[in-house]
Symmetry: C2
Subunit: 394 residues, 2 copies
């Protein structure tokens, strides 16, 4: 499959039209690229910046085929799609990046971990769960707490259950739909820090890696990203080489996010892999010379990768829909936020705000990372996203 190496009226098809697709399109439009998205929501965030939207389900093979027919290259902004459908497209001569083969490995977290550990990459201990008795067996071997996970389809902690006592096994198994869904367990890592690396890899195998980011989650949703991560050079070096190795063994083309744990013994362990641009890389939009979004487009088009150098230390905070509100999204306090120098607001344009929904983000730059963190916390206190004509949740 030849790469395109061109910007001339090149049409990119994106499966998914959320904020990741929106930011990708914004970056690509500067370069003169055209975009068509496939998304079931006619008013999805990307809809307002793309040339065309195919309104349809991500699993609708005819709609995906239509997207491929209308575009020069297909990519995706989320990984819960049928990899086999994309493999079929490749066989028919269409271009799809990252490769559906890599996607297929990543989609099933058990296969993913199996694949990576076989390649010598360290991950928390894990086991396949074929029935509830396998969980008890795993507890006997691995102890508690133990993380029960859906092998497919999870995000933002959905599909995970941290089992702390044997009493919770039945509940956990039922909540994750164990009788119908594939499950696995993973040793719980009492981590010192969660970090991630955004890695871009071109078709020729060339790689560029961004400064590591340090991620703070709350209720399993990313709350804050600090870049660069406050780790020793040694840890940074190790984490970067793990991340590069992962993308290499997957033969990935495009941008990947490699989430890792740094445990209390300064060991670096793989947590999860996303075959796409990632929330923990949003800081690159203003914080680095090339954003992860432009970088992804460069990689899949076969263009040279851009500089991943940091302009200034950056802190990104997510703007989540406030609790107790579901309704027409409204941002409050933006006018105060915008007084902070080098604070950047992204408001995704989702119509409805719901508790904990990702509605936007703020990135703050400062030469001093501690000051950037202070400014970001100040920013967090200034801005709220609520739902107007609010329906109070129970």
């Amino acid at each position: 499959m030849k790469l395109l190496h061109t910007l001339n009226n090149t049409k990119i098809g994106i499966i998914g039209g959320g904020q990741l697709g929106k930011m990708m399109a914004i970056e690509g439009k500067k370069l003169g690229l055209r975009f068509i998205i496939l998304d079931p929501q006619p008013d999805c965030p990307a809809s307002s910046v793309v040339d065309e939207q195919i309104v349809g389900d991500f699993f609708d093979d005819e709609k995906i085929k239509a997207l491929a027919d209308k575009t020069d290259i297909i990519t995706y902004e989320f990984e819960h799609i049928y990899a086999d459908l994309l493999i079929h497209l490749i066989e028919e001569g269409y271009r799809v990046y990252p490769s559906p083969e890599a996607l297929k490995i990543i989609q099933d977290k058990y296969h993913q971990k199996e694949f990576l550990t076989k390649k010598g990459i360290e991950a928390p201990e894990f086991r396949e769960i074929k029935g509830i008795e396998d969980i008890y067996r795993a507890i006997d071997d691995m102890g508690l707490p133990l993380l029960l996970k859906s092998r497919r389809g999870g995000y933002d902690g959905k599909g995970n259950y941290l089992i702390k006592t044997e009493d919770e096994v039945q509940t956990a198994y039922e909540m994750l739909g164990g009788d119908e869904k594939l499950l696995m367990v993973e040793a719980f890592v009492d981590f010192r820090m969660e970090i991630s690396a955004i890695v871009a890899r071109g078709a020729g195998g060339e790689q560029k890696i961004y400064p590591l980011s340090e991620n703070i989650h709350e209720n399993n949703i990313l709350k804050t990203t600090i870049a660069p991560a406050r780790v020793s050079d040694e840890i940074a070096q190790k984490a970067k080489s793990v991340a590069e190795e992962v993308v290499e063994v997957l033969d990935g083309v495009g941008v990947f996010c490699i989430e890792m744990f740094v445990d209390k013994n300064e060991k670096v362990l793989i947590n999860e892999i996303a075959p796409r641009v990632h929330n923990s890389g949003h800081y690159t939009f203003e914080g680095c010379y090339t954003s992860q979004f432009e970088q992804h487009l460069r990689a899949i088009l076969g263009l040279p990768l851009g500089s991943t150098e940091l302009i200034k230390p950056s802190v990104m905070i997510n703007l989540l829909g406030e609790d107790n509100y579901t309704g027409n999204a409204k941002i409050i306090g933006a006018e105060k936020l915008l007084e902070i120098p080098a604070a950047y607001l992204h408001f995704y344009g989702k119509n409805i705000s719901k508790p904990q929904r990702k509605m936007g983000h703020i990135t703050v730059l400062d030469s001093d990372i501690e000051k950037a963190m202070e400014k970001a916390e100040k920013a967090r206190g200034l801005v709220r996203v609520i739902g107007e004509e609010a329906i109070i949740n129970d």
Copy 2:
């Protein structure tokens, strides 16, 4: 008229859908703003990033009224529109920024200069021309060379004629349509440098000014912008205070570009004023913490103005349609350009390339301005925009 102070589903109407409108929409989309443009070309650059386009002429009062009815606030990306129409809209309670009163003063270059010099701002000597005999009289008084100018509607040197000998008077007068059009003459400034200042002013009168840019024209079209301009601190200070004064006396709200000459005696003289974002401010997109496009939106919405600090010295070069080609626009060499670190390509997405048409631009950042200039010249040599299926011009 109350300013909006909000980003919630706010709709901006832009008169004009060229590259300036495109970049404004790109910046505004990050903030969640919505855009509707009025432009006669259905495939104009901004069309691919806005929520809606009204296809219509800029002088069509019904279309402009429709744009106002569909949006919360009207702005414009070029100044050759009927100011009276906009004044009428204001009277009816619509929001229009910059104010049509300021636009009206600026649109007629003779009125503009008259207004400014009355306010004590220095400009090259100028005269009204009511008939061809006024030109001869001006030559007697002011000497040669002398610049004959259309008072309205010129851009990129169109509407200007530099009269070097008396023999040329008749030709110049006819070429600029002197019997029908309002003309003026201006003393020719044998300048040492052309500079410009991008100034933002909010509704409360607060101002932020960007680093001065040094502009190099070729065939009257901007070829290169170097920021910051290589002038002494004294000149920079003087030019900045002139620029701020201009926007102040115009009571301007929004982003303005003040083009100035630095003459051989280090005197700063007003050249032209644009009541809008400007080509010489494109470098701010990547070179400053807030781009002129976001800044304009902040100003007209009554939001706080952003930092105008330079991230790094920046050089912007325009990508013009190559001579001898008119046809489907094609960029050649982008893959080589993108190898240069911190070189940013904007390709506007105009379908047809014509000789000297502005098709895109490149901005290069470097800590060392001389290196930025070298990189920019290298970039210029790498990229071409041609028309495919070329029709060779005579």
